[in-house]
């Protein structure tokens, strides 16, 4: 078990390393490179040179890379090019905000989707199942930003029931009730998308498990159907669901970028979009890394949970997961 863990962690570290290379390389391969951002057009060439030296941009790329990684390891994400503010100052608050939004949306989707998926697996093709498919299809097919805008139009602008955007009303920062009001619309958007997928996963996984021999055995033992489903099937069915949800994290976080933009949610996704347009390389690299890290940790956790709930997982389990 520990060996398995160490192995997975090492693997994750390798992937993370490759990601740093990729994102760093990308920034430097881009036309203009990071240089262009910080130099204003009116500057004389000498002035530009001085600035480049100041920022260390005159050094070979690999040295810059190593410096950057070295600083990262020290927890220093670097400064923004435009105004030399520590990236962390900008980034960390948005991480929390995104976390709030995501965890509520995610938790809610799981809370709704998993029981719903279970129910549907026991009542295949029933009314609820049909509704779930419709929701699922809509969730897959609807552009999220469009859905968000539609909700805004109706609930915030026309009915004036809910706040239009932002995380808090000015002056009410930190008030939970205000936060909840602001959460409703973006969470609805995110939840719809997630629910759709999760119901599908759960249902499919449940159906597959319900066909297994050990379920028949459990029934042959005279278990009540509820017990069969909740004790014998669920645990097995949730294993792949957990994995998939773990693997799904990237989509989830990315999906939030659009939603955050639409609802002016001060999160990482919105920041990323803004910084991409502004070409703030250090911020972009930090966000990319951070999210990759989250994804990798998510996967790692999914694997761990997998290993915890599934006693079959032993030391040398190979990469291929049920998916």
């Amino acid at each position: 078990m520990t060996e398995y863990l160490v192995r997975r962690v090492l693997q994750a570290v390798l992937v993370l390393f490759l990601i740093t290379v990729v994102s760093f390389g990308l920034m430097h391969a881009a036309p203009g490179g990071p240089l262009k951002v910080m130099l204003s057009p009116g500057m004389s060439p000498e002035a530009q040179l001085i600035q480049m030296k100041n920022m260390g941009l005159d050094q070979p790329v690999y040295i810059q890379y190593m410096k950057w990684v070295g600083n990262l390891l020290k927890g220093d994400l670097g400064n923004t090019f435009k105004n030399n503010v520590p990236v962390g100052d900008i980034l960390w608050p948005t991480v929390w905000n995104t976390f709030v939004l995501m965890s509520v949306a995610w938790g809610l989707s799981m809370l709704i989707a998993i029981p719903w998926g279970i129910y549907n697996s026991t009542k295949q093709y029933g009314l609820s199942d049909q509704i779930a498919s419709i929701v699922a299809y809509l969730g897959f097919a609807m552009p999220t930003f469009w859905f968000g805008i539609m909700l805004q139009q109706y609930f915030a602008m026309q009915l004036n029931l809910l706040p239009l955007s932002d995380m808090y009303t000015m002056g009410k920062e930190g008030q939970v009730s205000d936060l909840i009001l602001h959460l409703i619309l973006p969470v609805t958007v995110l939840t719809l998308v997630n629910i759709a997928a999760y119901v599908k996963y759960t249902r499919a996984s449940m159906l597959e498990v319900l066909e297994q021999d050990y379920i028949r055995t459990a029934r042959a033992k005279g278990m009540k159907e509820r017990r069969v489903i909740f004790r014998h099937a669920l645990r097995n069915a949730l294993i792949p669901v957990v994995t998939i949800i773990g693997l799904d994290l990237p989509t989830l976080v990315a999906g939030a970028a659009l939603t955050e933009s639409v609802f002016n949610w001060p999160g990482m996704g919105r920041l990323f979009v803004e910084m991409a347009v502004a070409r703030e390389y250090s911020v972009l690299m930090s966000i990319t890394l951070l999210i990759s890290l989250m994804v990798i940790i998510g996967n790692l956790l999914a694997d761990l949970i997998y290993a915890l709930v599934d006693p079959r997982v032993q030391l040398g389990r190979k990469g291929g997961r049920a998916a």
Partner: protein
């Protein structure tokens, strides 16, 4: 009739499929006496498992249902019970074990958990007691160091061990009736011998009745008191083990026995074969289901379906040849085949 613990009468089961509802078994009747072992033999797809699932009413979960017929157990018709009532019978009065022991155990629970579960459920035992009993059961089925094993997961055990666990699980509540669906097919012969031995011993000790499903005539010969031969969803012949092996009357049974290469006598010659293959349940022939493959089929066979009837005490056959021209047919057969137990090479 109370001699018989389980009496299946004219059991017809159906499945919902893409092509509508299809009959998987048709008017199957089998009785199992107290302490008896009845073997259900037949080729793959003949409906053996479906019959067993129907008895347990597990077929309701598999996309099928009992269309007609009764399953009398202690005078109660299980086929008419609703599923909630069946919960008290399943695993308690009638237990079942399946072919593949590895997949029959839930991978995420310890074997102890899985054995204790029935006990807690049906006998209202406390968890502690149930675990104690589980250890006892493991010992009973011959698992060494049961105290250790009880805390292990299925994947930590070998196939033979798993099958023992499954048996222990089935027997935990002291069922009167055990249905075993090909319990040893997935196992090696040496292990199979162990398991069969175990079943025989337990049956003696606990006084159970067993409905044993197998396609291995050898297993049937060794275990059974009575044998029922199934073909394409119906019972074609039924009788005591001696009668079936010594004096099979249905051409299918005869063919089946003859096509098995023997352990003694001549080798290397051409084996007896039954022409063709077992029909799919969606494309059954008219009349007798066996007639297209039967070398002796007569006109009647093509038109009317024979029903199972007793021709000799302790032996029932569903075959027109055994009715009208029975003597002729039988004599004929006897002359050129299976004297006694040997499935000798038949040169046709």
């Amino acid at each position: 009739m109370e001699r018989n613990i389980l009496e299946i009468k004219n059991l017809t089961t159906c499945f919902f499929t893409d092509d509508g509802t299809v009959k998987a078994t048709d008017r199957v009747s089998i009785s199992v006496g107290k302490g008896q072992t009845v073997c259900l033999v037949g080729e793959s797809g003949s409906g053996k498992s479906v019959t067993s699932l129907a008895v347990m009413r597990l077929i309701d979960y598999a996309g099928g249902f009992i269309q007609s017929g009764n399953v009398m157990f202690h005078g109660q018709d299980l086929a008419a019970k609703d599923l909630d009532e069946m919960m008290h019978i399943r695993g308690n009065k009638i237990a079942m074990i399946f072919q593949d022991p590895m997949s029959a155990l839930n991978p995420v629970f310890t074997v102890g958990d899985q054995i204790a579960e029935s006990l807690m459920l049906h006998q209202n035992m406390s968890q502690q007691d149930a675990f104690k009993k589980a250890i006892e059961m493991l010992r009973l089925v011959g698992i060494p160091a049961p105290e250790v094993r009880v805390k292990q997961y299925p994947h930590e055990m070998s196939g033979g061990m798993c099958q023992r666990v499954v048996i222990a699980m089935a027997l935990a509540c002291n069922p009167e009736m055990l249905i075993a669906d090909e319990p040893t097919t997935a196992l090696d012969v040496t292990v199979q011998a162990q398991i069969l031995d175990l079943l025989r011993r337990l049956q003696k000790e606990l006084g159970m009745s067993i409905l044993l499903i197998t396609h291995d005539m050898g297993v049937a010969a060794e275990m059974a008191d009575r044998i029922a031969v199934m073909y394409a969803g119906t019972i074609v012949e039924e009788g005591t083990v001696e009668r079936i092996f010594d004096e099979p009357r249905h051409p299918y049974t005869i063919g089946l026995l003859q096509s098995i290469p023997g352990f003694e006598g001549e080798r290397g010659g051409e084996l007896y074969t039954i022409q063709g293959t077992i029909p799919s349940i969606t494309q059954l022939p008219t009349g007798c289901r066996f007639h297209p493959r039967c070398p002796h089929a007569i006109d009647k066979c093509r038109k009317e379906e024979p029903i199972l009837r007793e021709v000799v005490t302790g032996q029932q056959v569903a075959c027109w040849l055994n009715e009208d021209v029975s003597n002729h047919f039988r004599n004929n057969q006897r002359a050129n085949s299976i004297a006694g137990s040997k499935a000798e090479v038949n040169r046709q």
